[in-house]
């Protein structure tokens, strides 16, 4: 069934949903570009933030501190422009799951650390609220998977 064959009311609903999906996509893209850009200002400081999670050795913290910001920026641009849309959504889903697991692990181990999600711009955020935010973003991502190309 296409938009031409459905009732005007349903078509109107689809349009609204399309616009909502578009807005959510832009918000998600903006957050990823912002997060990546802020981390890129000081990759050495970001590596130290990753190291505080005590999950991986230092050399991989340094590697991730260089790679993650660009991955977030590329994903954000891809989401915004809709180039490689499914690939970007796959990365967003994977990154948000990994970030959430890292935050959960820090919470369970009682680590008193900052999220490090936005470099050093927003510190003292702890781990609880960033975890909730990530879960909300995961919810948005699920909606976008359902409707990756809004009308």
């Amino acid at each position: 069934m296409t938009a031409d064959t459905i009732s005007p009311a349903a078509n109107s609903q689809l349009r609204v949903l399309g616009w909502v999906a578009l807005a959510l996509r832009i918000i998600l893209a903006g957050l990823f570009v912002l997060a990546g850009g802020l981390k890129l200002l000081d990759p050495a400081a970001f590596a130290a933030e990753i190291n505080r999670y005590q999950l991986i050795p230092w050399w991989s913290c340094a590697l991730l501190a260089l790679l993650l910001p660009w991955l977030e920026i590329c994903v954000g641009i891809a989401l915004f422009t809709r180039w490689f849309s499914r690939g970007a959504l796959t990365w967003v889903t994977a990154l948000l799951i990994v970030f959430s697991l890292a935050l959960l692990s820090a919470m369970l181990r009682g680590l008193s650390i900052d999220c490090g999600c936005f470099g050093r711009m927003w510190q003292s955020t702890g781990t609880f609220w960033p975890l909730l935010r990530n879960l909300a973003l995961l919810g948005i991502t699920v909606l976008l998977w359902w409707n990756p190309r809004p009308h």
Binding site: L40, L41, A47, L66, P69, R86, G87
Partner: protein
């Protein structure tokens, strides 16, 4: 392009840009282990950590009261029992601790570092050259 291909394109684009960043960024992370095993550490290394450190002043309290590293906590063999709970209140798990005593010749910083480790504080370092090393660089 299939999803797997798109995922790969995004990854390799980010990898290429990360390589460029590693080559030119003035604040790129250093790959050799920046945090050596707990033990003696130089002031230069501590300053290169680029993160907050909890300083412990292991000198007598009279010396501490005259002057100490900003933010340092006084913890020495004489006040150990009464000050340790205060120290633990201010220490965040995984926060790096650096203990110093008067000079290179004193052993108190090493002793306090050992005591802290046995109390579950980790990682703990002791400053090479002690207070003298700090003072001469100020």
């Amino acid at each position: 392009m299939k999803t797997g291909g798109q995922v790969s394109v995004i990854f390799f684009a980010a990898l290429a840009l990360a390589g460029l960043t590693a080559a030119v960024h003035p604040k790129k992370p250093s790959f050799p282990d920046r945090f050596p095993a707990p033990g003696e550490i130089s002031l230069q290394d501590v300053q290169n950590w680029n993160e907050p450190v909890l300083w412990v002043d292991a000198r007598p309290e009279s010396d501490y009261e005259i002057e100490h590293v900003p933010g340092a906590v006084s913890l020495n063999p004489d006040n150990w029992s009464e000050q340790l709970p205060h120290f633990l209140d201010g220490w965040r798990p995984a926060q790096r601790v650096v203990v110093y005593c008067s000079a290179a010749s004193c052993e108190t910083s090493r002793e306090i570092a050992d005591r802290l480790r046995h109390s579950g504080v980790d990682p703990v370092y002791y400053l090479k050259g002690g207070w003298e090393a700090w003072r001469t660089t100020r």
